[in-house]
């Protein structure tokens, strides 16, 4: 500022006014200052601004990275996070805020990084169970925080999540009702993912409710494609295949799809298969994956908006928003391809937001 002020022959206060678009500055002066700014390529230092204005115009996003890091990004379950990132970034776009990211495997190291991050931001988006609930609440006392896909009971915190229960229930009803499958297996996600636990519980309850069907086995994966493949190998080692295997997410379903394919099994001929999430690749597989459409974008959008609101008014009373998740029937469950509601993967604003 000082350089600009000197060259333009005004005070730093005036330069600041011009930069901030204050109306109390003569048009001529403004133009002159603007010209100098342009010439000098001046860009205000965000640290200084932040210090002075007590706001950083940055919001943070912390997310989990699952699966074996060595195996590479493609196989870990980042698609979920990516969608959230883009949705959140899109709402921030208009506001002057930018998005600061941190990912990583759950653990102390990630918690440290989140802690450090918290000093750089005006608010924080937390995806899944990045840290212990108590630490989270501690954080939330100091900083606006909204949790995405966190645990359902979370109290005193803003949370947005998808209705895993209803989605899974509908899916299982289709499997046991329409198709009449009796012997089902489940490939579950990591225990530290609230979503995974909810889906497992919903699955078991739904199967139980169907009288004639039974849960033959529950396998445990970590949401990564590789862990799906491992589950498939375990399945292959059994005496007999179940009639249907339902997976806690699409990535793992893709893993079992490919692994079973390699073993020569046909889907849905030999086994029916379903996923959960409806990520982009899920409609690309052969056969296209029957799954449950999770409103990724809405999750991110809503969370970001809520955070902005809370930053504007920190006294807002915490609220948890439950977004609908519905089964989308494609072919991997045994339905003829293209027959039912095989609509394209969610495109964004299918449900009214606000």
């Amino acid at each position: 500022v000082y350089d600009v002020a000197r060259v333009a022959g005004v005070s730093t206060a005036t330069v600041s006014r011009v930069v901030r678009g204050s109306p109390l500055v003569h048009a001529d002066t403004r133009d002159r200052v603007l010209a100098v700014i342009e010439a000098l390529g001046y860009v205000p230092d965000a640290s200084a601004q932040g210090l002075s204005m007590r706001r950083k115009d940055i919001i943070g996003l912390a997310g989990l990275e699952r699966g074996d890091g060595e195996i590479g990004i493609e196989r870990s379950s980042l698609l979920f996070a990516d969608q959230i990132v883009h949705a959140a970034e899109a709402v921030l776009r208009g506001t002057g805020y930018s998005l600061l990211l941190t990912f990583g495997p759950a653990g102390e190291q990630l918690e440290r990084r989140v802690r450090a991050l918290s000093g750089k931001v005006d608010g924080l988006l937390v995806a899944e169970e990045v840290m212990a609930p108590e630490d989270l609440r501690t954080l939330a006392r100091r900083l606006p925080v909204v949790v995405i896909a966190g645990r359902r009971g979370e109290t005193g915190l803003d949370v947005v999540l998808a209705d895993n229960l209803t989605g899974m229930t509908g899916l299982v009803a289709h499997l046991t009702g329409q198709h009449g499958y009796r012997r089902l297996c489940f490939v579950s996600g990591p225990k530290d993912a609230p979503d995974a636990m909810e889906r497992l519980a919903a699955f078991e309850a739904a199967v139980l409710a169907s009288k004639h069907s039974v849960v033959e086995q529950v396998l445990h994966g970590d949401f990564s494609e590789g862990s799906g493949a491992a589950a498939a190998r375990a399945l292959l080692g059994r005496r007999a295949m179940p009639e249907a295997v339902v997976c806690a997410n699409d990535q793992m379903a893709i893993g079992v799809l490919r692994e079973l394919g390699r073993a020569g099994l046909r889907i849905p001929g030999d086994v029916a298969l379903t996923g959960f999430d409806d990520v982009y690749p899920s409609r690309l597989t052969a056969p296209p994956l029957t799954t449950v459409s999770q409103p990724f974008r809405d999750l991110g959008t809503l969370a970001a908006r809520r955070l902005l609101d809370r930053i504007a008014d920190r006294s807002l009373t915490p609220r948890t928003e439950l977004l609908p998740a519905i089964a989308v029937i494609r072919a991997s469950c045994g339905c003829p391809p293209g027959l039912r509601n095989d609509r394209p993967t969610r495109t964004g604003e299918e449900w009214p937001i606000r």
Copy 2:
């Protein structure tokens, strides 16, 4: 700090020393201060630190978002950017830096956002042609910048890019040589993508070099799946299909794959098809996509490292690194599935880095 200092009965200077891990603090004092910090939940303000230390510990990443925004994220070509993001974030992880994002359609608005971003960061990663070369150079004078997949000739700037030329040449050689295809079409990417232009040029040169083959038509897309579908419809309107259609990226190839599938055409039976990039979904399609594997992760990793180096020593002489891109033959070109080098999508460190 003041609170901490008061409660711990020391000066702010000492607190600062403890926080920064300075060795010139008595162990007892350190422990006492640490305890207070823990109790108070103190986290240093990054703005103040930034102002004082003249470094923000943040690096920025600006990228393009293509395709019709309305259609939603799944169909636009963000997979490229996502990979870069994760690779860059992974190298930053250990260093204390975090990643600040901005995406958007090319245009003045994005340039403004990048400008504002530049005040918040210590260095900038620029993916593709986010802004005019001159503006970029202006920016680079003030701030460490490295360009990812920028234009080849870029001088005086650090650039890392994939060897589109060699990759495309190899692919076309396979198509015209092994398969003997004569009549080829090309679905090109947006003109503002240096990668797209390079691939087009390489394609035309390679076909020309093959004597017997000819470029029947060049269609123009924008790297999004939707634009691939549009190209497919144009193809369908022709008198006859070409023998092979090669696309400038995988997303568009997937678009034509699905659209041709809807029209009842068989791939590769009726037309051969290829993509470029080897994004995750490309091996999931039926048939799996023959494509050119682009070293996304290496691109991001190398770029981030280079940026860090330049931040450490701004006098480094600019360099451009060309990473190999090689054809990966799967089934959409007409090869029998699983026969050739249908290896999994790149997992990260296949080529030596550094």
